[in-house]
């Protein structure tokens, strides 16, 4: 088993990735909020929804990280059951959040949806589509590379 000091937490690749993603989500959702102020009518419910969705999505992401960190130290069959059960709990939380957003008049459900789903696009942008060379090579023939 690997031993880790408390001080070396910042060097942990999992923590670094989480920090990068959280920062990206906050940036993207701030931009969506600024755009929403001009587009949404009235803007306050949209902003409240966006804030609500962002907070829940980040907390869910943290919960996912804690779950996986614990699961990899278990036996494989235990890890499988543990992760699936924790997924259902997170799914239930998201369901409750969306239900509240739909029912409450002071929260716009579209803001909450943007807040929750922006995480996926940030991950795709930061980890998958972060290579400019890839985009440059798309339209090149293989022989020309």
């Amino acid at each position: 088993m690997l031993k880790r000091n408390k001080g070396s937490d910042k060097m942990n690749p999992v923590w670094e990735t989480q920090f990068k993603i959280i920062k990206g989500v906050l940036l993207v959702n701030s931009a969506i909020g600024v755009i929403g102020v001009f587009i949404a009518n009235p803007p306050l419910p949209f902003l409240v929804g966006l804030l609500f969705g962002t907070i829940i999505s980040l907390l869910n992401f943290r919960l996912l990280s804690l779950t996986l960190n614990k699961a990899v130290k278990m036996q494989p069959h235990q890890a499988q059951a543990y992760t699936s059960i924790r997924y259902m709990i997170r799914y239930l939380i998201i369901g409750l959040v969306l239900y509240i957003s739909i029912q409450a008049e002071y929260i716009h459900v579209l803001g909450t949806i943007f807040g929750i789903l922006s995480l996926k696009f940030v991950i795709l942008q930061k980890e998958l589509f972060n290579n400019k060379q890839y985009f440059k090579n798309i339209f090149k023939r293989k022989e020309a590379k």
């Binding site: 990899v72 799914y91 998201i94 996926k120």
Partner: protein
């Protein structure tokens, strides 16, 4: 016997649609569990790679989870904020 109104028909179809949309939530659960099991096997085989394994799994699981949320959003909107009722 009372005739079936358009509103009742839309509500019934929406409920069936919501049920079908919820099927999308099952896949990511199974997939995440399977990935975590394989991740645990990988860490058991190579404990020094734990950071990289968890990192890759975290990103994959987060993206997969969003796919399940799409279905949940569709189901909840069909049940509690049905836009089709307004069209009648």
């Amino acid at each position: 016997m009372e005739p079936i109104t358009g509103r009742a028909l839309v509500l019934a179809a929406s409920a069936i649609g919501a049920g079908l949309a919820m099927i999308a939530g099952i896949g990511p659960g199974i997939g995440q569990g399977y990935a975590a099991g394989k991740g645990a096997e990988g860490v058991g085989r190579q404990p020094e790679a734990q950071g990289d394994i968890v990192r890759t799994m975290l990103l994959g699981a987060a993206v997969a989870e969003t796919t399940g949320i799409y279905g949940l959003i569709i189901a909840l909107i069909l049940l509690f904020a049905n836009p089709l009722i307004g069209l009648l």
